[in-house]
Subunit: 381 residues, 2 copies
């Protein structure tokens, strides 16, 4: 098990999801905190939850993916300033995985962006206050936009039987959705957006609730539609997301890192015209080359516990980098993860040493990502 | 007890304080999360910790008060843009309690600001990413500043015997500090800043560690100096801070509120020249008057548990507002707290009704703040 401790809710500072009561009723065993909000991350055993995701279908309360909504006559121009992806290539009804970059190229956040209208965007956030960044940036921009946190709370339905569940809820139209597209619809009058996205590497959907007062109803409707398919409320699976080569902002990278270090080069559209934040810095970093890289690693020996801190990486006796995520894959029967390493130690096949708290030294090898091919659930190579 | 649940640390996303190992060793029983970091808030019983704070001295790990450091030739001009307080009245060596305001007058954060040099400031933050706000604001400002999170981690030493403890550590110089002043010094070579500030309403100091690698040493030095005075590691006391009329950003007010609603009018310096963010909005709000006010309340009946959500306030059958904080004061033998109420229901002596989850309806009365006079520990009135 990851590091377990008591969480105390002292006062009303930490917000609750519209699904909070449901997660309590369904036996959420542990929470974390994300975007100032309680986030249920475990209902039973993390390895059981992984197998259920891989073989069946799971329901996650990810209302912590708070939205920044950008509207107004200049919403396109402004949102397009925030990211190196070229949003002129994002149609209404389409989403994109984007990075929000600082002027030095640092990654402020890596949200899923949805384009709901020509001048209407949502950013479904990782754990940082992009609302404050965006409101700071717009101040002197002269652009006419409104930036706010709307009443929107996503759920994820993930796993091979997710298609059957969303079909039962929304009909065939939703099955036609291509990856990262969405539709705006309603379920018994509950307004939602359904996207073909997720944080699992399995087939999956997100259902964005647009009226927080109807969380209970939506949760129970999904559970009812999922029961024939053995749906289970769980937390997101770190085992599965590491197998898929998916990163977690705050752990695998932060504001101190840029896309070229973490292998997200594809999130910079080379032909995008000037005028977006971080462009010059990113061009310079690309031209100069990076000094460190986030790479896949396999760790020798017996099953390890999921890292609660970053572990030291050594080359001989020299400390050279950090493990950002490391976890046991029950399917691959291997310890897998990511490490941030100087380029001299980042080539495939390089051997390094790890210092694992309470365990000791372990060898590790740099390997390709992902560990399991996307969408297929089949181990690679 | 406040609402208790499991906290799971899944991966290395949540940061640990330089004092984390010490808090574990000294028996921290529960944590919360604040500024993306684990925050030990209870070592035993919250009421015992309150009495220890009131009668003796307590040590708190508040490394979660992350700093934004602003330096560079235009650091004064830039920092002075961020707040309605006039920083020309803040000497080097002095601190101020400030609000960081958005362009609409909303409260982004309410840090303690320290002026370490003519052009060198720290903001010791409540729980929001002011680093992102400041970096967004500076982009188009043309000002030459650097904005970063330095390696600085505060502790608080609070309680009537705090003076004796800091005197044992730093000598008489520290006793001469006036409220909100500070000194830069070292303890066995450990670089620190000591401020005459705190979140308790008792006499207290904060010790800002300036080298995270020396957290263990500093903690043990303070514990050793405090032992003759019966020092105890505890969390901050919500009982004591509510008695003192101190607010908690995120619970008692948020970005949706302004200083005039929450009675922090004194944080706007009337004579401050134009050029700071939120000035026009605040002037308009002040001229128009506010529609709601944060007020003190006393709640009828038996001891209540500290609220984990905001409770509904009713006037007759009409829902009119919310309780933001409510807690039992063992010293006053009363339930006390704050409520955000329309001005029509905010006058002293007004009776309202509360809906308390799992308890039912309770009467409450609007009363003056604070409940206990500052620094004196003597109940008011």
């Amino acid at each position: 098990m990851p590091f377990d401790m008591g969480l105390i809710q002292r006062g009303a500072r930490l917000r609750r999801s519209p699904f909070f009561a449901a997660t309590q009723r369904y036996g959420a065993r542990a929470y974390t905190v994300y975007n100032h909000m309680l986030f249920p991350v475990c209902f039973g055993d993390l390895e059981d939850e992984y197998w259920h995701l891989v073989n069946h279908v799971t329901l996650w309360d990810v209302a912590v993916e708070r939205q920044v909504e950008i509207t107004g006559p200049d919403a396109f121009a402004f949102t397009n300033m925030l990211t190196p992806r070229d949003l002129s290539r994002c149609a209404v009804g389409q989403g994109k995985y984007v990075v929000i970059t600082a002027d030095d190229g640092g990654i402020i956040n890596d949200p899923v962006l949805l384009r709901l209208g020509e001048n209407h965007f949502w950013l479904a956030l990782a754990d940082s206050d992009v609302l404050l960044w965006a409101r700071g940036v717009v101040l002197s921009s002269g652009l006419r936009v409104e930036i706010r946190e709307p009443d929107v709370s996503p759920l994820q339905v993930q796993g091979p039987k997710a298609k059957a569940v969303v079909r039962a809820l929304f009909g065939d139209a939703v099955l036609a959705l291509r990856y990262y597209y969405f539709l705006e619809t309603a379920l018994d009058g509950i307004p939602v957006v359904v996207t073909r996205t997720g944080w699992s590497g399995e087939v999956g959907y997100e259902i964005y609730l647009r009226d927080g007062s109807r969380g209970e109803e939506l949760w129970e409707r999904i559970m009812a539609a999922g029961r024939p398919h053995d749906i289970r409320p769980t937390g997101p699976s770190d085992i599965r997301r590491v197998e898929a080569g998916i990163f977690n902002w705050g752990a695998d990278f932060t504001l101190a890192n840029n896309v070229y270090e973490v292998g997200l080069d594809r999130l910079v559209d080379a032909g995008k015209p000037a005028g977006y934040i971080g462009r010059d810095a990113l061009a310079r970093i690309k031209a100069d080359g990076v000094r460190q890289k986030l790479v896949g690693i396999e760790i020798d020996g017996d099953r390890i516990e999921f890292n609660a801190t970053k572990w030291r990486v050594k080359a001989g006796n020299e400390a050279v980098g950090w493990v950002t995520s490391a976890i046991w894959s029950p399917r691959l029967k291997k310890n897998i993860g990511y490490a941030m390493l100087p380029v001299a130690h980042a080539s495939l096949g390089t051997s390094v040493g790890l210092e694992i708290p309470d365990v000791g030294e372990r060898g590790a090898t740099v390997v390709p990502l992902p560990f399991v091919d996307p969408g297929k659930g089949i181990p690679k190579g």
